[in-house]
Symmetry: C2
Subunit: 197 residues, 2 copies
DNA sequence: ACCTGAACACCGTTCAAGT
DNA sequence: ACCTGAACACCGTTCAAGT
């Protein structure tokens, strides 16, 4: 039977979840699909493009959220982190695809964050930068968190009894989001109180 | 004559600057040093560790800066960006080494930023997070900037006359730093004005 | 249109053996 | 102590040729 883009992305996601990004190779993927490596190049121009499609699959559950600009930024950040944590090496893969400009979903998310920044009163020339700053934070924080998480999971299932102390990663994550939201919010305060030089 | 760690890092930095990170392979590096690939493994445990040493070399010029906490964060961010832009794919290489926890220099820089955040009145439990948030931004922004810069340089030396319009990257970079500094500064305001819930 | 076979030009890492 | 030789187990990508 014929190979479709969907099947390829399905199989790629399965390899990612079960074995991680270092095992997600074109040859391994072809083997899993019972085709020759060359077959993949009929459907995708190169590996980067295929990884971009996997990134978009990972980001599918991240949609627009309702509410004021603060809630929208916090909500998007939270669901983005959740989506990344739902797949092995998710943060690393999406980071790479974002940097390579291969994720349409990421472009969409940056757009939503930019709109929220605009509502916050950020100068139109800088809304995209504010949005990307939030994305850099979420990707960086989550990649860190995930690598520690996966290292712990591999090393030992709770070596000593002290693994629940100090690692409320979610609370720490939210603190960082709050910091960013506050920074974005200063633009608003400045218009209201006229503190701008 | 004997091979020393310094020589290896020197040669690696030269390859990086002249051909980019994708040409910085163990085999290529060995060839340039007139040794067998295996020789490198006497001096470095693996490629990640070697790249960490290159990252530390790149970050050598990034030192502590004087002044109040706002100036220290802005100063460190600026000199960090400058250091990354001084080497081909510098941001990408340092990002990877930072994520892999292989750069001592990066740990030092995060320490300085954390100290500045503490001076800003950030809760001691969150100074490291505030510091890392700044680092995520600088690495993300600069990697983006550098990839565009290098793409433009490769494609054509000014295809049309419009290349100086809208790309004052430094001004944009500073805006993002200001956003972060403002977010960190809100902690201070809250103590002063007692706005905290 | 879609895929195979086979090649091209590489990788990182290990390790017995040499000096 | 430091390095070579040689192997192991892979990579991504291309492309004539087949169906």
């Amino acid at each position: 039977m014929q190979l479709h883009k969907r099947d390829v992305v399905d199989a790629a996601t399965t390899i990612l979840d079960e074995y991680g990004i270092s095992d997600l190779t074109m040859r391994r993927l072809a083997r899993e699909l019972n085709v020759t490596p060359g077959a993949l190049y009929w459907h995708f121009a190169n590996k980067q493009q295929l990884l971009g499609a996997v990134a978009d699959r990972i980001l599918e559950p991240v949609g627009e959220v309702p509410g004021g600009w603060r809630d929208r930024i916090a909500g998007l950040s939270g669901t983005l982190r959740d989506a990344l944590l739902s797949h092995t090496d998710g943060a690393e893969l999406v980071s790479a695809s974002f940097a390579a400009g291969q994720s349409e979903a990421m472009t969409r998310i940056v757009g939503h964050l930019g709109a929220a920044a605009a509502d916050a009163g950020v100068d139109p020339a800088h809304t995209d930068l504010a949005a990307r700053t939030v994305v850099y934070y979420v990707l960086g924080f989550t990649a860190d968190e995930q690598s520690r998480l996966q290292w712990d999971a591999a090393g030992a299932e709770l070596p000593e009894g002290q693994s629940a102390l100090g690692d409320d990663a979610t609370a720490r994550f939210r603190f960082g989001v709050e910091l960013l939201v506050n920074g974005i919010g200063v633009a608003e305060h400045e218009w209201v109180h006229g503190t701008r030089a």
